[in-house]
């Protein structure tokens, strides 16, 4: 067999290449390095791709407009495929290049990195996902679930349902189903919903969907049997469009179906189109191309031929979310620079300080080109979330229509739960709550 020596040689060459040490990053000393963990392949790619493009476009935009007080941003993408072990590999790979902030882009990866981040001194920004308890900065020093967690999302959804019924007390005796992705992502909201069910006397029906969620016939059969008054959809990726198709097939009214903010983007409803009309979902961020920021990005990034993705994707819901995440990252570096030195590259610890002292007020929102689209956000040592404001948007058959009401998570419900969960986590990990003196450090 002639090929054998060749195969041998190839095997040897591979071993040779493997033993070579990994070359160092070709990054300049005065650049702020942001690793971008993304997934552009696999079952979650339709949702992961616009998110990733939004993140990258904002970095390019900041670089095109002179950097963060002159500090340019270096970045490198790493494909995780939404898999935890691949995500950990990416984290380890990019960490070595002086990563100063990571958006893991997946709840499972966030869980795995939460233990590693304090050791490596790299803050995690998990906008609208991750661990609900990590809102408590006293225990989760390095986690920043800005703008919301699954608990605040569930809380806002229940408030919205209460409003539709004309008061939260009217939910008594109602049946609310939760169709969820059977993973930490989908299970996180359950404790909050159970608490709310207890408070208002509605019945909660839990209907898990096995990941990735392409097979949901059995679940929707149960929906049909149980006839819940409302159904909450807690899906991601291909699970969302499948759920909507099943809802159509079983004849469940879309007006009674409410999604979390990860189930309310264009890829989720596109395939279902007009049939999904009436479906609503939380809107963590606005979408559209009218804001000055998006116009500027179109001009300075896309018109310059630098766009990370197709032009017509700009302004879509998940693209905007990626943009916002990166915006907060940049603002954190800016905040840190104001304290530790303008025009300098910030370390992971300094960026963490910046994230903890973010103060995006209305004036700053205006300067950022997002006036009226997001609400002010202010983080602190104890509150790593900053804001829980969220709206609801509905699919009218061709586009998402924003509804005017803002919801805030009810602090009297959330705070004790966060406190308890954080204390439990601290006890498990044998870590102490931070002292007040640590807050100003």
């Amino acid at each position: 067999m002639k090929l054998r020596p060749f195969a041998l040689a190839m095997a040897l060459a591979t071993v040779g290449a493997a033993t070579l040490s990994m070359p160092a990053a070709a990054q300049q000393a005065n650049e702020q390095f942001f690793p971008l963990l993304v997934y552009r392949t696999g079952a979650y790619a339709p949702n992961g791709t616009p998110w990733a493009n939004g993140k990258q476009d904002y970095v390019k935009y900041i670089n095109a407009t002179g950097g963060i007080n002159g500090v340019k941003i270096a970045y490198e993408e790493c494909e995780t495929g939404y898999a935890t072990d691949k995500g950990v590999e990416c984290y380890e790979r990019l960490k070595g290049k002086k990563a100063t902030l990571i958006d893991p882009q997946a709840t499972g990866i966030t869980f795995a990195l939460t233990d590693k981040a304090p050791v490596d001194k790299i803050p995690l920004i998990t906008l609208g996902y991750g661990l609900a308890a990590s809102q408590d900065g006293g225990v989760f020093k390095w986690n920043f679930p800005l703008m919301g967690s699954y608990w605040t999302a569930a809380d806002a959804l229940i408030q919205h349902l209460g409003k539709k019924e004309g008061g939260l007390d009217k939910l008594k005796g109602k049946k609310i189903a939760l169709v969820y992705h059977d993973s930490p992502f989908g299970k996180e909201p359950i404790p909050l919903l159970q608490k709310r069910a207890q408070m208002h006397g509605f019945e909660l029906v839990l209907l898990p969907v096995t990941a990735p969620g392409v097979e949901q016939k059995a679940t929707w059969l149960q929906v049909r049997q149980q006839r819940p008054d409302y159904t909450l959809l807690w899906g991601w990726g291909v699970m969302n469009s499948t759920a909507l198709k099943e809802a159509v097939a079983t004849g469940y009214p879309r007006e009674k179906l409410f999604g979390v903010w990860w189930s309310g983007a264009e890829p989720d409803v596109k395939d279902v189109g007009a049939n999904a009309k009436g479906y609503s979902a939380l809107a963590l961020n606005p979408h559209g191309t009218e804001s000055p920021l998006v116009k500027d990005i179109l001009k300075k990034v896309h018109d310059a031929g630098q766009g990370s993705g197709p032009r017509d994707e700009v302004g879509s819901v998940l693209y905007m979310r990626g943009l916002l995440i990166q915006m907060f990252a940049v603002e954190a570096v800016r905040t840190a620079q104001a304290k530790f030195g303008q025009g300098k590259v910030m370390t992971g610890e300094q960026v963490r300080w910046g994230l903890e002292n973010l103060n995006i007020d209305d004036k700053r929102i205006g300067e950022l080109g997002l006036a009226g689209l997001i609400r002010p956000l202010k983080t602190s040592c104890t509150d790593h979330m900053g804001s829980t404001s969220v709206r609801v948007h509905s699919w009218d058959g061709s586009q998402w229509k924003m509804q005017p009401d803002w919801y805030e998570a009810d602090k009297s419900v959330i705070d004790p739960m966060v406190r308890e969960a954080a204390d439990r986590y601290a006890a498990e990990k044998q870590i102490k709550r931070r002292d007040a003196s640590d807050c100003n450090a």
Partner: protein, 354 residues
């Protein structure tokens, strides 16, 4: 030339029966161990440990366990991920529910839990063979996926279903730094590899191989199929269970059932097939091929500064990796371990072949 055993006489049974009868092999393996235990901890980077060596060692251990079942005893199993999960969650429960449970104790008990489940799901092997058995072990996979997702007792009532461990230590030594984790895995793998090698050379190993080659003939010469098959399931799932506990505790730290999904079972089966069925060495080759190669391929465009988009790179990795699997299987169906032994044969004559 270099690899000739001429002049090495064996004067005792012990000398004839040692694992590496040829001096050169002993030197090579000694050097390899010296590199693994001394040189790498001194010079290896954190990335090398955390992203490459630790996953490689742990999955090599799991592949080793699977190889005993598939390679030595001929029982195809698609439930490896399940047995890893049982090991991981078993060890987790022993660790958090019993105060003062040492890490090694928890891991071994996790391995024993996997043994129990493995034997249970191995019982059908007494009546069904080949692909049908693969289907039966697939049931183990789906059952454990379901159990660890839905029965909250196993996850200590964690609200999200994700569990984590922290503050691991062995005999008072913390297993926190990458080097400590690496050395811990290395010791476990070495101990288990030695045990597995000796098992396969012993009476029980020969029984497994007899069953693999022809179970009717084996039964005729007095081998009890039930004992042989179930012992293979027991040993295999014990090793796989310990590997699962290592994967969860040492590599991931926080995990959910998805870490041990059906994909993991397939990945391990591929490792065993590509590495070489019925070879301890093959498990390591297979693990290196499946773990390290995609990571390497993923980074090659960057080394050369080729601007490829992340998605393209990712697709290319899958394509090249798949092509390589096909290529190696065509060239050498008996796996990389066979290639290795061919290489050794050639080296005996090199550089003056006939």
């Amino acid at each position: 030339m270099l690899y000739r055993e001429n002049g090495q006489f064996k004067a005792s049974y012990a000398a004839d029966q040692q694992i590496f009868p040829i001096l050169q092999d002993r030197v090579a393996i000694g050097a390899l161990l010296a590199i693994a235990f001394i040189v790498l901890p001194l010079f290896g980077s954190e990335y090398l440990f955390r992203a490459i060596l630790i996953p490689f060692l742990i999955l090599a251990l799991a592949a080793l366990g699977l190889n005993i079942l598939v390679g030595y005893c001929g029982q195809i199993s698609l439930g490896t991920g399940a047995f890893m999960a049982v090991g991981a969650y078993g060890a987790y429960n022993f660790l958090v529910r019993i105060d003062g449970m040492p890490l090694i104790g928890a891991m071994l008990l996790g391995g024993l839990s996997a043994t129990v489940i493995g034997v249970l799901f191995g019982i059908p092997s007494l009546r069904i063979k080949g692909l049908y058995l693969a289907m039966a072990t697939l049931a183990a996979q789906f059952f454990t996926d379901w159990a660890f997702l839905r029965i909250s007792w196993f996850t200590n009532n964690s609200s999200s279903g994700s569990v984590s461990v922290a503050g691991l230590n062995v005999f008072g030594l913390p297993i926190e730094s990458p080097v400590a984790k690496y050395l811990f895995c290395l010791v476990v793998v070495c101990v288990f590899a030695l045990m597995a090698k000796n098992l396969t050379r012993s009476a029980i190993g020969r029984q497994w191989m007899a069953i693999r080659d022809m179970d009717v003939a084996a039964a005729v010469i007095g081998i009890r199929p039930m004992y042989a098959k179930l012992s293979a399931f027991a040993v295999s799932s014990f090793i796989v269970g310990v590997a699962g506990a290592l994967w969860a505790f040492i590599h991931l730290g926080a995990w959910e059932p998805a870490a041990f999904s059906i994909d993991r079972s397939f990945q391990l089966l591929f490792m065993v097939i590509i590495g070489g069925l019925g070879s301890i060495m093959g498990a390591f080759f297979g693990a290196a091929f499946i773990i390290v190669l995609p990571i390497l391929l993923d980074q090659i465009p960057q080394w050369f500064g080729i601007p490829l988009s992340t998605a393209t790179t990712s697709h290319l990795v899958h394509m090249i990796f798949g092509a390589l699997i096909v290529f190696f299987l065509i060239v050498e169906p008996h796996g990389l371990a066979k290639l290795w032994s061919i290489g050794k044969q050639k080296l005996r004559l090199w550089p003056f072949p006939h």
